[in-house]
Amino acid sequence: MAVETFRKNMLAIVLFIVFLAAAAVFPFVFGNRYLNRVAIDILFFAAMGNAWNIIGGYGRQTSWASATFFAIGAYTSIMLFLHFETSPFISMWPGMVLAVLMAVVIGLPCFRLRGVYFAIATIAMATISRQLLVYFSDFTGGNLGLSFPIIGPANPLYGPANLLFSDFLLRPYYFIALGWMAVTVVIVWVIEHRMLGYHLRAICDDQDAAESLGIKSSVVKLKAFIISAMMLSFTGTLYVFMLRIVDPETFASHEMSVRIAIVAILGGMGTKFGPLVGALVTIPLLEISNNYLADLGHGGAGWVLYGLLIVVIVLFRPNGIVSLFDSAKSLLARNAGKGKSGGEAGGA
């Protein structure tokens, strides 16, 4: 089977490997801290987009609670580090466990709901958890957030063990992000070809039919939600050690959930490479427009453009940017004269 699926996805896999290779040399080609920083964000958001995609794309359950899990990972790690100097490699596990618990708490009530009711319920849940983060400020630091002091090479805590590096070009963080992003793609790829993937797609195609055939939709969704939550929490741990500050306003906010989902939806829901493509398009665009349009009027022009991009893509490419590739691919396929069935094209 593996062989067959490989053949199916040959083009996609080759492209991905090429991308990874290019990405691997990127930081050495341009020794540019800012570009690396942007790239790191692209990769982390692609990773989070992949996580969201499992439940939101393949399962078509538009969840707006992503930021909650992201924040859980970030907070657990930074708190354990501040109080017990725990290495992120250890603290990421309790983080993921908490994320799973939270996923169950949010999922159990919400997966009984369909469509918009689900979306709004997740927003409500996310708001509650964010507000509680703020309220119990005694140990979450409230909206002050938590940040840890600058730790230089002199400090014993400095070093890979705590994901603390001082490379001016941020390369260590870049490769951490790149590696993790690649892993998330693989995770999604595996899920897609396992029972979970099939059942998620079955459910979002026709929940009643799926249930009549013995597929327990709420269980399947919950599984997907849990996996997605763990991935987000993991990303939170990695991200916070690069940013070195965590606060609810930025990590647990509704905006963060939106940005995560946008990356995946614009790129292409229910496709392995959609989130990556989405991140590769939206984040640089935002950066460029912010850099060049910042002085226009009273500012904010960059975000206007961002909004416009979203609107335009939704209108022209309702299946996301990757659908462009698919059209191109099927065109090639037709020219090559062999009909192929959507390898990369998962999304409906």
Partner: protein
């Protein structure tokens, strides 16, 4: 672990007693009782809106009955009283069904449609694969196995629905109006498939309002009228009964 009650020589699959269900005042199913015996093709007939589909939805757990009992006898003779088991749980007990409108997983190929289900009922993906292949053969879907199910014509979708259920290794299969909107020739093929499925030892509950179709498929029919049990028996005799004819007045016999 009650022993399987034997009526005549046939084992029961379903024993529906005094089933009752109302929606916002509308009394859809009214003290409706009937039995389904192992291996038979039972026709459940009656004019449109007489509660046939509702009964199926009650038996498969889509709705919960207001009162009355649904008893299901598993293959090993175990007796299950169906009350609040969810549709998936019932499906896993061997209760299969199709819907009036075909519900393929449009995003998937025909093969994957069946494979997705087979995975659930087989240990390894390999077994699942074999089962799927077997069903594809059985249904004669060889050449369309790779097609996206949305691309299929209506009758093929219906047949795929029917055969997809086989992946759940069902004990009984409830076919809800599976002939609606088909041409005579397609109807013939459909009936043939139903018979083939039945020959695999799967009991069939065949819901239909078109009498003639039922006549040459079922050895036994139950007639429903306004949610109530009207009569049952061999199709030929049943159709002679005056109240049945009355019930069907204005109904369209032809197909």
């Amino acid at each position: 672990m009650v022993h399987n009650e034997v009526s005549g020589e046939k084992k029961k699959v379903f024993e529906v007693v005094e089933l009752d269900k109302s929606f916002a005042g509308v009394h859809a199913v009214n003290k409706f009782s009937f039995d389904v015996y192992e291996g038979e093709i039972l026709g459940l007939i009656g004019p449109n809106g007489c509660g046939k589909s509702t009964s199926v939805n009650l038996m498969t757990g889509v709705y919960k009955q207001d009162s009355g009992s649904i008893i299901y006898y598993a293959a090993d003779g175990t007796k299950h009283t169906l009350e609040r088991q969810s549709p998936p749980m019932r499906a896993r007990m061997g209760i299969g069904r199709t819907f009036q409108t075909p519900k393929p997983f449009s995003d998937m190929t025909v093969f994957d449609n069946i494979f997705a289900v087979a995975m659930l009922y087989n240990k390894s993906l390999k077994e699942a694969r074999n089962v799927t292949e077997e069903i594809i053969e059985f249904a004669g879907f060889r050449q369309i196995a790779g097609e996206k199910s949305t691309k299929l014509p209506i009758e093929k979708r219906k047949w795929m629905d029917m055969t997809r259920v086989l992946a759940t290794k069902p004990r009984i299969l409830m076919l809800d109006e599976c002939l609606a909107g088909l041409t005579p020739s397609e109807i013939e093929e459909s009936l043939e498939i139903v018979r083939k499925i039945n020959r695999r030892g799967i009991t069939i509950l065949f819901i239909e309002h078109v009498m003639s179709a039922v006549a040459n498929l079922c050895e036994r029919v139950v007639v429903m009228l306004e949610g109530k049990f009207l009569t049952e028996g061999i199709p030929a005799n049943v159709m002679k009964e005056p109240e049945v004819i009355k019930a069907y007045l204005g109904e369209d016999y032809a197909v």
